[in-house]
């Protein structure tokens, strides 16, 4: 990875077990245009109903455990991506969401204990290369495990299709 994977932005903190219906509700599954999908990010998370109005490009989403549990809908990743949320730092990710984010080249990081270190509004610096999170507002630091192996390669390439084009030309 490179310095493209270092982010600095304002944190939004949500709790454990945010499932895909809360991130992107099932009634919006018919949508296929990412810009339309973006309008419904986190709509069903209590307290986040006006997220899409208030979010700013470069903001960072910080979550509790098991973020993105539930459905395999990639819409849940896209809706956050298209709101220009720079990265997601979670206590833990649900596995399908994790995989979808990797495949879309969307920066994610698992950092146990992160929610006790961050409050909504804190300014964070996130280094997805090293896994280091610095809370600039509180002056604290915490470290998680960065992506490695194949996931890192796919993420660095910019997503699964980019990876396939670069690494496996024979597959074309």
């Amino acid at each position: 990875m490179s310095k493209e994977f270092v982010f600095r932005g304002r944190a939004w903190v949500v709790e454990d077990d945010i499932d895909t219906d809360m991130i992107y509700h099932g009634s919006y599954l018919p949508l296929t245009d990412p810009k339309e999908m973006a309008k419904h990010a986190l709509e069903y998370v209590p307290g986040m109903e006006d997220f899409t109005e208030k979010v700013q490009a470069g903001d960072i989403l910080v979550t509790g455990k098991n973020f993105g549990c539930g459905s395999s809908r990639e819409h849940a990743v896209i809706t956050l991506q298209y709101n220009d949320v720079a990265a997601i730092v979670a206590e833990s990710f649900s596995r399908i969401f994790y995989r979808n984010a990797v495949n879309l080249g969307y920066p994610i990081l698992e950092v146990p204990g992160i929610t006790s270190e961050v409050e909504t509004g804190d300014e964070l610096e996130v280094d997805a290369n090293t896994g280091l999170i610095r809370n600039l507002t509180k002056g604290t630091e915490v470290r998680g495990a960065p992506l490695s192996g194949l996931e890192k390669e796919i993420m660095t390439a910019g997503g699964l299709f980019s990876y396939l084009r670069k690494e496996l030309p024979a597959e074309e």
């Binding site: 499932d19 219906d21 018919p30 395999s72 596995r95 399908i96």
Partner: protein, 418 residues
């Protein structure tokens, strides 16, 4: 080196490598499925990335329309059409349209799911097919589009947890209760991304429908897949559908298990998952008496003939009528199940009792159709998810077995069958 677990065997077989837990491998796909949700996204992604390039193998692609069958909004009607057009263009023969039912069940009935196969689909409950020993998983748009292009996908080989049950239970306890019990006892921090293998007398005695129930909620346990080794009867059934003899994939005797857990379910009582999580499980007796506005019997977890039969019997035994003001929605999983239910007189029982029997499909579960709830409504469902607001903002949902659901419909409050 020790022997292999089921998942290691399947992924070794499909990747040509010695696949072990923790490895990344590229596995050949047996089947890549889309639904009418996710499907149009896959088609659009595929065409954007690859244009008119032919898919890797049209025979190994399938489409099943069950999210909104038939379409409720123009967008979905259009999405279904986009999928049909792609199928025609690329010579994909397996399109199960809005009259077929829940995708994984339809594929199973049509002999397209074999033990030891690797299958992907745009729905997280693809993994209910682990009930017949198939490594089937839910994937996002990009994965499936890439799968259609190349016929292979990357996997991290999961560790395997061996789960053994012992003990016996009797009616009204059923497979759904075993499933809810397990959900309440496991450490999801450990099951996440793992392969689960289920053993023990209680598992052996589960019918196919019961196995589908248990395997379907491995998703809610955050597991990658849950395998139940098909017995001879089930192998014969699959073989009959597939038109060939099939064999189960069994682990090596010296397979290495990351963990081994045992559960004693002797005398297991009926259970219910309370709002707002599938693992918020309590004995039914603890929440009996809670007023309920709507009951849903169906879903990929409990939508087979056996489930409908149990529900119909409870309804009949308890007076044959739902409580005043109770809305009971019944959805068979597939056309085959619907026809069997009609022939068995179950439709008559349900409709006479005051239920609405809808056409086969995902129905309420995907909030595509059929029984969305208003604020303050309480639902008892035989489905697999009850996260906050999923089925209607401000509503509360409980998950349970068909027997308890039917009893609840009669009484108008959470109840045990009599």
């Amino acid at each position: 080196m020790s022997g292999k677990t089921i998942i290691e065997k399947i992924l070794s077989d499909h990747s040509g490598e010695d696949a072990r837990a923790g490895d990344r491998v590229w596995a050949e796909l047996d089947l890549a499925v889309v639904r009418d949700f996710g499907g149009p996204n896959v088609v659009l992604e595929y065409e954007e990335q690859l244009g008119d390039k032919p898919v890797w193998d049209p025979q190994r692609i399938a489409m099943t329309f069950d999210y909104q069958a038939p379409a409720k909004v123009v967008q979905v009607a259009n999405n279904q059409r986009i999928c049909r057009q792609f199928a025609v263009k690329h010579g994909v023969p397996h399109v199960f349209d809005v009259n077929a039912g829940v995708g994984q069940h339809v594929l199973l009935e049509h002999g397209m799911v074999l033990p030891g196969s690797v299958i992907i689909g745009t729905d997280s409950h693809m993994n209910l097919l682990g009930a017949v020993g198939s490594f089937s998983t839910g994937m996002g748009t990009t994965d499936v589009a890439a799968g259609w292009a190349t016929g292979r996908l990357w996997y991290r080989v999961p560790e395997t947890i061996k789960i053994t049950f012992k003990g016996g239970y009797s009616y009204p306890t059923s497979a759904k209760d075993v499933t809810l019990f397990l959900l309440s006892r496991i450490d999801m921090g450990k099951t996440i991304y793992r392969s689960l293998e289920f053993y023990g007398q209680p598992i052996d005695s589960l019918s196919l429908a019961g196995r589908l129930t248990l395997a379907s909620m491995v998703t809610e346990m955050e597991g990658k897949i849950g395998f139940i080794t098909p017995d001879d009867d089930i192998l014969a059934w699959i073989g009959g559908r597939a038109g060939r003899t099939v064999e189960a994939v069994v682990p090596d005797k010296d397979a290495y298990y990351w963990e081994e857990w045992e559960f004693d379910i002797d005398g297991l009582e009926p259970l219910i998952a309370c709002p707002d999580r599938p693992d918020n499980v309590k004995p039914v007796v603890e929440v009996a008496g809670v007023h309920v506005d709507e009951v849903f019997i169906g879903s990929c977890t409990n939508g087979r003939l056996e489930d409908l039969k149990v529900a119909a019997e409870v309804l009949e035994r308890m007076g044959g009528r739902v409580a005043p003001g109770m809305r009971l929605v019944v959805t068979p999983a597939t056309t085959e199940v619907a026809m069997e239910a009609v022939a068995a007189g179950l439709y008559e029982t349900f409709i006479t009792a005051g239920a609405m029997v809808t056409n086969q499909g995902c129905s309420l579960c995907t909030i595509g159709h059929h029984g969305v709830l208003a604020e303050g409504d309480v639902l008892v469902s035989t489905g697999n998810r009850n996260f906050k607001g999923k089925l209607g903002k401000g509503s509360l949902a409980y998950l349970t077995s068909p027997a308890v659901a039917a009893a609840t419909a009669v009484k108008g409050e959470i109840s045990l069958p009599e």
